[in-house]
């Protein structure tokens, strides 16, 4: 009997985390690849056209076709590029975003690391992602890429501050940086009700963080060709692409976890609730892409520093006052 319990303990402590890690990795990368198809179909729907509908039923095999295409393309480094940095840059964005998924609680029991500073870790990792864009723009050694990298750096100065501050209200109410505990703190009322300004500010920051329309200023295909990834092709470009979609999934997950009670919900299993809530915000990301124009990057900076940052600070002060007054 003791031997058997040892085996089951080893199973639980060793194999289970590995399974979860691979499960999360496969699930997240599949979702990121599938999002390319979902985005094209949804944009098509909202622009009164179809989008990819030829390969397989409803065009679902388009995902496979895209993956095969991008993998089989020539992996080319332009001769004028700064080779090591050029190759390194796309790996940074994918690895930092993937690392952020390590601390996300997918259900009360499914998580990879139960980190007590989980939220700080996510914020730190997503900030590191900016290196990828800035370095890619720099290493490409071409003017449009440099513009893109420069704008990414400027944009980062614009949103990173109020992004962190917008979440501090949630942290105050939950009394923890641990994402699991933040979810558990929402058992009575979701933070989207008590922290509504925080939600709005984080949503804006999330769009900027994921570098999506309206804040795809570093990419800006109608001004900068493709911005920081102008010189990239093949799977290196694919890494930026996957990184962008992983970023969308991550931000949507964070919104669901921090403001909409994460996995909590009636009837359905926790994982399904989290997937539903996340899916809603992913769709919102795509809807925003179909709607908004792109501001200039000085407009984003002004908006960030003159509107969002004061709002975040006021929200922080009010929340702090409330927490103090309630004496908890």
């Amino acid at each position: 009997m003791p031997e058997r319990s040892l085996i089951s303990r080893v199973m639980y402590e060793l194999i289970r985390p590995v399974l979860i890690i691979f499960g999360v990795l496969v699930a997240v990368l599949t979702v990121a690849a599938g999002l390319i198809y979902v985005e094209r179909r949804l944009l098509g729907l909202w622009q009164d056209r179809y989008g990819p509908n030829r390969a397989g039923p409803f065009g679902l095999l388009q995902v496979l076709a895209d993956v095969i295409k991008i993998i089989s393309k020539e992996d080319w480094v332009p001769p004028f590029a700064d080779r090591p940095v050029f190759i390194l840059a796309p790996t940074i964005i994918v690895s930092t975003v993937l690392l952020s998924f390590a601390v996300i609680p997918f259900s009360p029991t499914i998580h990879i690391v139960d980190l007590n500073v989980g939220l700080l870790f996510v914020l730190g990792m997503s900030s590191c992602g900016v290196y990828s864009v800035a370095l890619a723009g720099w290493a490409s050694n071409s003017k449009y890429s440099l513009f893109g990298g420069l704008r990414a750096a400027a944009q980062m100065l614009g949103y990173e501050v109020f992004m962190g501050l917008s979440l501090m209200g949630v942290v105050m109410l939950a009394g923890s940086f641990n994402l699991r505990e933040i979810v558990e703190a929402q058992d009575r009322v979701w933070f989207c009700a008590t922290q509504f300004p925080g939600l709005v500010i984080f949503l804006v920051a999330g769009f900027a963080e994921a570098r999506r329309i309206p804040f795809d200023i570093p990419e800006a295909e109608n001004e900068l060709v493709a911005g920081y990834h102008t010189e990239y092709s093949g799977m290196k470009f694919g890494m930026f692409f996957v990184g962008e979609y992983l970023g969308i999934v991550l931000i949507s997950l964070l919104i669901a976890i921090l403001f909409f009670g994460g996995w909590s919900g009636p009837l359905l299993p926790p994982l399904a609730w989290l997937a539903l809530k996340t899916g809603f915000f992913i769709v919102l990301f795509i809807l925003a892409r179909g709607t908004f124009p792109r501001p200039r990057y000085d407009q984003l900076l002004a908006f960030g520093w003159k509107a969002m940052l004061p709002l975040a600070l006021i929200n922080l002060a009010v929340t702090g006052g409330m927490v103090l007054a309630s004496g908890s």
Binding site: L45, W46, D48, R49, Y50, N53, L287, T291, F292
Partner: protein
């Protein structure tokens, strides 16, 4: 801020709109009658070739995709010995149709002419020539021109008087 949300809502409402796309191979688009598509060579109402090999189409063609060689039958009627259009060059501008004095060369509303082999896009006269008169069913060049050919002597064309003898005027 309110305008942004209103915009999101407007775009979202497009979920329930009808899609504008015509799913082409299954659903054919409606082609206007004056569409400039595949080029054909028409025949006159008598079933003879309209083309008189005047080279005007080849001369006006901006991409030089038309090649032909004039020939003449035993009655003095001109026709192209060969007539070749390289559709891999053709830009379907319709200048040849405008230049043609006999309505022989015409553009049709057929656009489905893809080929896997580029050389298959070179159309010879046998591919170009159709059996009917195309867009101008009643026009017959040799019936309105003054030229004498087989079956129509001088002065026998439509709206044409018999040739006058100029010497009779001086008497």
């Amino acid at each position: 801020m309110l305008a942004l949300i209103k915009g999101l809502w407007t775009i979202f409402l497009h979920t329930f709109r009808k899609r504008e796309t015509i799913l082409y191979p299954e659903e054919k688009p409606s082609i206007p009658p004056r569409w400039r598509g595949r080029i054909i060579l028409a025949r006159d109402p008598d079933g003879e070739e309209r083309c008189v090999a005047c080279y005007l189409c080849a001369a006006v063609c901006p991409v030089d995709c038309i090649a032909l060689q004039a020939a003449e039958d035993e009655h003095g009627r001109r026709y192209p010995e060969f007539f070749r259009i390289n559709f891999s060059r053709c830009i379907f501008c319709g200048f040849c149709e405008e230049a043609c004095p006999t309505y022989a060369i015409q553009l049709t509303n057929d656009f489905e002419m893809c080929e896997y082999d580029r050389t298959n896009l070179v159309y010879e006269k046998e591919h170009l020539l159709i059996s009917g008169p195309g867009k101008y069913p009643d026009y017959n060049f040799y019936r309105v021109s003054g030229l004498a050919i087989k079956g129509k002597g001088k002065g026998e064309a439509e709206n044409e008087k018999p040739p006058s003898d100029p010497r009779s005027l001086t008497l």
